[in-house]
């Protein structure tokens, strides 16, 4: 366009130059003024045409740029609309890291145990003062169109424990799904939760007595979800059974079998519930325990035999109109019963310090024990929750060679542990939580202990959604 404009000017300039270059002496005054007029007219005509052309070009230009803008907008919108947006983050796999630690104020107790119960499995806590709990690292993603994968590592000093590492089918059809690898059993309610999801700073006594922390094993789990509006989900698991109450027994086939059913539903829009019963059957071979005799002399021993556990669980949640944001309430309770029968060996822990078991005793052992916990947690305002938990264990019968085992091993004596706990926690977001807890702990015979905990739980990365 500028080129065009220059051209017009050049033309005009040429005309003037030609006119001026004409010999002056040959031109009369009248002729000169006529020529000047002519040039003026030409100039005016050209100028008006030029400005007209200029405005026309300008408007064409602006229209073109507007059209271009629109095209760009449409393109970006189209591009945005095409972007894949999945329900989980674009990172594959989702990575989550849980930071947890606590300060505990407790009595100085030499050998913490639950009187009346043989305890096993690994157990967190028990340390006084400041301590770091397991740092949990988990990774999960869909493996492909058929499988999902998940791994959870609990990291402590000089040790990485594979808490879970499993695959699960995304849908076998007809409501079936299969899980394989190392997983937390679907037994009960709290069992599938990692410690960061617990509502209290420590484990309830029932689970402590049953499994230490929770029951996990290497094996297979088959679940079926009924095609009904009422949630009905039976499951069966077979596995290695290496964890307490069983032991690793170096054999083919299944070392433990678990089965159960869970049911659940809503009552109106504000209430929902889940309940279930489960059963675990496993065997122990030389399952070790430590304790002390009535004279407080240390003994060691082991149990070989069958272990059967029944577990009933119930959870009820309330939120006004189902909106959990401001207020919500959760009640959970579980009850267990465990039968064990087989043979028991016991001996002095230190041969130089003879106990009631001196000379290595062996005999028939049979026990029938039970326990429960019930807890209620209320969110009374956004971010703030308060809770109460009651734990109770019943030692029941525990016979060694036809007599109560307490006469020989006092730490397995007839005593029913119990505990009351109160907690208050603050969660500024769903990724962080700070908790204060007080417990009145009577889990050991002759001990009534005040315990205080301050705990933090922080979550980095793609924190997976929690189950009900």
């Amino acid at each position: 366009m500028h080129m065009f404009k220059l051209g017009k000017h050049a033309l005009l300039a040429t005309a003037i130059t030609i006119a001026l270059s004409t010999p002056a002496h040959a031109v009369t005054d009248a002729e000169w003024s006529a020529l000047k007029d002519e040039i003026q007219k030409m100039k005016a005509a050209y100028e008006s045409r030029i400005s007209e052309l200029e405005t026309r070009v300008k408007s064409a230009e602006s229209k073109a740029s507007a059209a271009e803008d629109k095209a760009v907008k449409v393109e970006t919108r189209a591009a945005q609309a095409e972007q894949p947006k999945s329900t989980t983050s674009r990172f594959n796999p989702d990575v989550s890291l849980i930071l947890q630690g606590k300060y505990a104020h407790m009595d100085d107790v030499d050998e913490r145990h639950l009187t009346g119960f043989m305890q096993g499995g690994h157990d967190h806590g028990g340390e006084r003062g400041f301590s770091l709990d397991h740092t949990e690292l988990s990774l999960s993603a869909n493996v492909d169109q058929i499988f999902r994968g998940y791994a959870n590592f609990a990291i402590v000093d000089e040790e990485i424990e594979v808490e879970e590492a499993w695959f699960q089918t995304l849908g076998l059809g007809k409501g079936f799904s299969l899980k394989g690898g190392r997983f937390l059993s679907a037994l009960g309610y709290q069992n599938e939760q990692h410690p960061h999801a617990w509502d209290f700073a420590d484990n309830n006594l029932a689970y402590k007595a049953l499994f230490g922390e929770g029951y996990g094993q290497d094996g297979l789990q088959l679940k079926w979800l009924a095609p009904t509006d009422l949630f009905i989900e039976p499951f069966v698991e077979i596995g290695r059974g290496a964890a307490f109450p069983g032991t690793d027994r170096n054999r083919n086939g299944a070392g433990a079998v678990a089965a159960g059913v869970h049911m659940g539903g809503d009552v109106g829009t504000s209430n929902s519930w889940r309940a279930g019963v489960s059963h675990l059957r496993t065997k122990a071979s030389e399952r070790e325990f430590e304790g002390h005799d009535p004279a407080d002399v240390e003994v060691v021993g082991d149990f070989t035999g069958k272990s059967k556990t029944w577990l009933a669980d119930f959870v009820w949640k309330w939120a006004p109109n189902g909106n959990t944001r401001t207020n919500n309430f959760k009640f959970a309770a579980e009850y267990f019963r465990r039968d064990e029968s087989g043979t028991l060996n016991c001996d002095d822990a230190d041969l130089a310090d003879p106990s009631a078991c001196t000379g290595a005793l062996s005999g028939a052992y049979k026990s029938d024990q039970s326990g429960m916990y019930a807890q209620a947690v209320y969110q009374f305002m956004p971010q703030w929750r308060a809770g109460y938990r009651y734990d109770k264990l019943w030692r029941g019968d525990a016979d060694f060679n036809g007599a109560d085992i307490g006469g020989m091993i006092a730490s397995l004596g007839d005593y029913d542990p119990s505990r009351h706990s109160l907690m208050l926690d603050w969660s500024p977001s769903e990724f962080s939580r700070v908790r204060l807890q007080y417990s009145k702990d009577k889990s050991m015979d002759g001990q009534s202990e005040n315990q205080w905990f301050v705990q933090y739980i922080h979550s980095l990365g793609a924190h997976g959604a929690h189950k009900f």
């Binding site: 809503d266 189902g322 909106n323 929690h466």
Partner: protein
Amino acid sequence: MKRFLFLLALVVVAPVQAALNVFACEPEWGALAKEIGGDNVKVYLATTAMQDPHHIEARPSLIAKMRQADLIVCTGAELEIGWLPVLLSESGNARVQPGQPGHFEAARYVALLEKPAKLDRSEGDVHAAGNPHIQTDPRNIAKVASALARMMAQIDSANAVKFRQREQDFQSRWSQAIRNWEAKAASLRGVPVAVQHKGFPYLQDWLGLKEVVALEPKPGVDPSAAYLAQVVSGLKTQPAKMILRAAYQSDRPSRWLSERAGIPAVELPYTVGGSARANDLFGLFDDTIERLLNGLK
């Protein structure tokens, strides 16, 4: 015997007349599926207008319903990230897993606003893909409707023609309704508003409302008293005409601010079922526009 054989033949031969089972994560998508599907769909609403769609418990009842779904219709864009993944894995339903035709995410079909420049949890509950509250702009509903009708036709090909016809009928009624709403809401253009949660960018974009301030210091973070005081003083220099909040949200912060700043707090239905009048998608926007206009008075 003859009668028995006849009955048996009826059972075996009779085509399965089961309606398409739709699991809608939010009420607006349930209403849309109903508009397109009519009697050929059975819609289950996973949430109500009184629930915060960011925070839903993965309840057993929801898992049981998802088990039976042929199609799940959700917003996506991470809105349901706190509960949908659990339902998907626990339902054991292969048809509705991500990537399957039975897994529909509405946010994929509209241009998302407010894509965060920075992804950091200190910024609050930000969604990487953009703001997921797309249902407050009826033009988005139209886009989602055509995509949803295509998906429904793909899953239930026997009713494909019906779905397409119903969708076209819906689209013509909808575009007429949009014209009416826009004409009615002309006076709202350029009106400055305060919002309780950044849940209305699409409504603002559509009607030309100007968001002056949000009552949450960061998305999903409840305001402190100090922050609200800051909002009040901010409103003195940059006034707003009204405070908007969704029906599911607590009315306390907006009521508090309304008293201090002397401007009305307007509760919007936000989704189908959020008010008595918002009993379908048309009612939702009829009521939204009317409440906004009342707020302007």
